[in-house]
């Protein structure tokens, strides 16, 4: 069955997108990403260490940009201006690459997004030719506005970044998914495999996660679990679950032919 994820006119087999932060070393990063099967990986843009980097390996040596679709992010940005600057630098760094993850944070403790700054940045970036996947609150009106601005995917949080609290408001996600004409991906808050499966069963087009894999006791094993969970959740969504009912007078085994 061909069931591809389509983002900004490009298709992907994997619906699991993963971050590359918080791993012990680059070798573990690579092993976990291989186990996850992810084709899209997020990276952060940061100042280069001057004078102490000669010969030191870089993330790009372990994860060649030819092999993956890089999704540069704006993590750590608290204003639209900083986010736009960061992604323009990313585009230069990655030879004109247009697909980006926009996130503008509002508070250093909760890492909750600032949607006013996010919307301002999204407008500028879309006008500037970027394909913007946007991290957002799970507010259906905001999600719709981001779609109308021209973002190529909306990525509401399941719960706060790095919290591992899972999907706290499936009803809002369901409204966002129902209203959206662009892919909806859950970004942030997934803690374990069942969370990812639930997101996919709700009808999300994909899931983006970092900490749930990197902070597992065995990240590579968890990466494999997440891959299966996303696939299982997607297939369950496509299959269409049986309706829930309080009880059933229809057992699975025949009611006739019983011995007496």
């Amino acid at each position: 069955m061909s069931d591809l994820l389509k983002i900004a006119d490009k298709t992907y087999h994997s619906r699991l997108l993963v971050g590359t932060g918080k791993y012990r070393d680059f070798a573990e990063t690579r092993a976990a990403i291989d186990a996850s099967g992810a084709e899209i990986i997020t990276v952060a843009i940061r100042r280069t260490n001057i004078g102490q980097t000669a010969g030191e390996p870089s993330l790009l040596d372990f994860l060649p940009p030819e092999e993956f679709t890089y999704l540069p992010n704006t993590a750590g940005c608290y204003s639209a201006d900083d986010a736009v600057r960061t992604l323009r630098l990313a585009r230069e760094l990655l030879d004109g690459h247009k697909l980006v993850k926009l996130e503008v944070l509002g508070d250093p403790n909760t890492l909750y997004p600032n949607m006013i700054e996010t919307i301002a940045a999204a407008k500028i970036l879309v006008k500037d030719g970027f394909d913007v996947m946007v991290y957002c609150s799970d507010d259906p009106i905001i999600a719709k506005q981001l779609e109308e601005i021209g973002c190529c995917a909306v990525m509401p949080l399941a719960s706060l970044i790095g919290s591992g609290m899972g999907i706290l408001n499936p009803w809002n996600l369901q409204i966002i998914i129902e209203n959206a004409k662009i892919p909806v991906l859950v970004d942030a808050g997934v803690g374990t495999a069942s969370d990812a499966a639930i997101a996919m069963e709700l009808g999300c087009q994909g899931v983006l996660m970092n900490t749930a894999i990197a902070a597992a006791r065995n990240p590579v094993l968890m990466a494999g679990a997440m891959k299966k969970a996303v696939e299982a959740g997607r297939e369950a969504y496509l299959a269409g679950r049986m309706p829930k009912k309080l009880y059933s007078a229809s057992p699975s085994s025949p009611t006739t032919g019983l011995i007496s």
Partner: protein, 67 residues
């Protein structure tokens, strides 16, 4: 010449040199990076032709692990 690179002040003996020369002197040649000069991106193709002046502020960035 005084430059501010990634938020730190640095002195250079030469008084007129290019972004390409700066990249070389910082031992960053061949590394994948992007440079902003006084808030404007300098395309890689312009490294040779872009001259630096006293007081210039530069940001030199690369890709690192992140979520």
């Amino acid at each position: 010449m005084q430059l501010t690179i990634n938020g730190k002040a640095r002195s250079f003996e030469e008084n007129d040199f290019s972004v390409a020369r700066l990249v070389q002197s910082l031992e960053l040649t061949g590394k994948r990076l992007a440079i902003e000069l006084n808030g404007e991106i300098v395309p890689r193709s312009q490294f040779e032709h872009t001259r630096l002046a006293n007081g210039d502020k530069l940001e030199i960035v690369g890709a690192v692990g992140g979520g």
